[in-house]
Symmetry: C2
Subunit: 363 residues, 2 copies
């Protein structure tokens, strides 16, 4: 199979690596940056460096457009012009409505979005297993997309290790707005609010709590990427943000009214919602949180993680809650299922730490 | 010095331990739960178990009321009735306006709030060093509080290891509303919104991203405690929530308008605010984030943390960003200052991992 990758960064490079090694495909790559192209060859991500979009597309059965969101629609349109009728063309952009609206009338185009790799960038971070087990959304337009081409694309992506799910482009963008873009907007707003509030009464900023740190971890992250994402998904994001604003007004009213039972019910509902959301993404059983009190000296976390690792208990997620001076604190460890939780608790106790199981979240 | 602790849980017990060992104080404790009192004696948190509030207060120079927020005002009022004119009485509740309004007319009462220990509970988790380096707010009423008594209280708390800061009770509650209570309300609202949105289009919940997980980590946490906190700080919390709702509406408008430069400026402002807020609480230099790509098999995190620990690099905070199937992912490590960051990067590279410095947050 001949496969073309247009844009050989982290995602494009990983597609190339996986396609070459797992599918035995011949991969031809193009990138506007010539050094990027050279690095892609060096990393084994592509077999051949093409000199142009047209050259890359020649004879390709599957083409992935993996440029940044801002230039993606133009690139993909150029690709569709270069390709013959028997080529399936997909992209990896994180929003789908606009590009499908622009190009979905072409039966060779099927929009795509792999949920992988957002944490790093560059072909030097490309990995053959980047998509292993990852969700990969495809947005075929049922009335247009060719069944034959969809099937080829779908099998190719499954061969890269990903789990394909077809979804309506608008539903996809609403979904991403809620679980990915919205938290960024909220984080931005919270730090703005805090910065204003905290400088109102004194010169000195006070300590912020662990809950604040968690909630605002992504504030202002990667401006280049997020500018594009907010722009290309602006309606779904704005709608989700408005919905949250409305819910916050309701919450403010509830809290202001001071009806203890109503507040308690609302709070318990949030705990249930969170559990449901987290458990949906894990396979090894419901997530269990263990809270360990530790000295925050170098090595303590390592000792803990090592003991669990040696015993085969995998830490699915971890959060440190240091005291303000960082000399001690608590660590939350999330493990999958009751068995792993019980083993983890026993091991942590053997190390002399205090550990307790947390019922629902917990600060 | 004779010191009384009313309510011997995590905070009261830790006050007792620190007062006995660091100040050589004689500590008398009272708790409505007789087994709690026995455990407090066993843990060395108190010298003497009193049979009543009155007995505990007899002859005490400093009294700390450390009951849960809901019963705190009543307990403190009872304590003030039992104590003579030369006793200073303080509390450790996480909101201050109501209790100061109720009791601040008594010149022996000075409200207090140590920022420590919210991550666990119970006298069995009490530690002599719980307050070491921690901020401890005091809310004297300037026109009423006795200078002599304030001085004694302040010196006692400093002796426990904490850093005392006087603050107006209303400013305190607004501050806490913003940096601690607000993120909980926002987390609750976000999971509610997501649970509704994600079940709208399909039966199956999709994966949620790391940003969503971070932002909603505290959703529905500790219902018992949070019900009280929302109740006792309802006005400041409701006001902060309303302010955030308003900011979100502005953000929605900004995003909907799609002016790239304005969105970029807003986003960059959030990054700057976040850095300012985080750096305010750290002493060892500005926080640096390193992003490491790792296999998420048991032991990898341990190996990393161990290598850093052995080299004396302390991990201030850590976040895992696993791929959906948990086989691999990225780890963010936060360390203090450029020197530690450079050493950490070299060590991580020696272990064969890919590591990069993250400019501002980053998902």
């Amino acid at each position: 199979m001949r496969l073309a990758v247009l844009g050989v960064g982290l995602i494009g490079g990983s597609i190339g690596l996986a396609a070459r090694r797992r599918l035995g495909a011949e991969v031809i790559g193009f990138d506007p940056g010539p050094t990027t192209l050279a690095r892609a060859i060096e990393a084994g991500a592509i077999d051949i460096a093409a000199a142009s979009v047209g050259e890359a597309c020649e004879g390709a059965e599957v083409v992935f457009c993996a440029a940044p969101v801002a230039g993606l629609a133009d690139l993909t349109a150029a690709v569709l012009e270069s390709c013959g009728p028997d080529t399936v063309v997909s992209d990896v952009g994180s929003t789908k409505r606009d590009i499908v609206a622009a190009l979905g009338a072409d039966e060779r185009f099927i929009g795509g979005h792999p949920l992988a790799g957002a944490e790093t960038s560059g072909v030097e971070n490309a990995r053959e297993d980047l998509f292993e087990g990852a969700r990969w959304y495809l947005t075929p337009k049922s009335e247009r997309s060719s069944g034959l081409l969809y099937d080829r694309l779908q099998r190719t992506i499954a061969g890269l290790g990903a789990r394909v799910q077809a979804i309506d482009p608008e539903a996809h963008d609403r979904l991403m707005a809620t679980v990915s873009h919205l938290p960024h907007v909220v984080a931005n707003v919270l730090v703005g609010q805090a910065a204003e509030e905290l400088t109102r009464d004194s010169e000195r900023m006070p300590e912020v709590g662990p809950s604040f740190r968690d909630t605002t971890r992504v504030a202002g992250a990667n401006p280049a990427i997020w500018g594009d994402i907010f722009a290309s998904n602006r309606e779904a994001v704005a709608e989700a943000v408005d919905a949250v604003a409305m819910r916050l007004r309701d919450a403010a009213e509830l809290i202001r009214a001071g009806e203890r039972d109503a507040v308690a019910e609302w709070h318990a509902g949030a705990a249930a919602d969170r559990r449901r959301l987290l458990e949906a993404e894990l396979s090894g059983g419901p997530l269990r949180e263990l809270r360990v009190v530790v000295a925050n000296r170098p090595g303590t976390i390592a000792e803990l993680a090592l003991a669990l690792g040696e015993a085969g208990v995998n830490i699915e997620d971890m959060a440190l809650y240091p005291t303000p001076d960082m000399t001690s604190g608590a660590v939350s460890l999330w493990v999958s299922g009751d068995d792993q939780a019980a083993r983890a608790m026993a091991l942590v106790r053997e190390l002399g730490h205090t550990v307790s199981a947390v019922a629902d979240g917990g600060e």
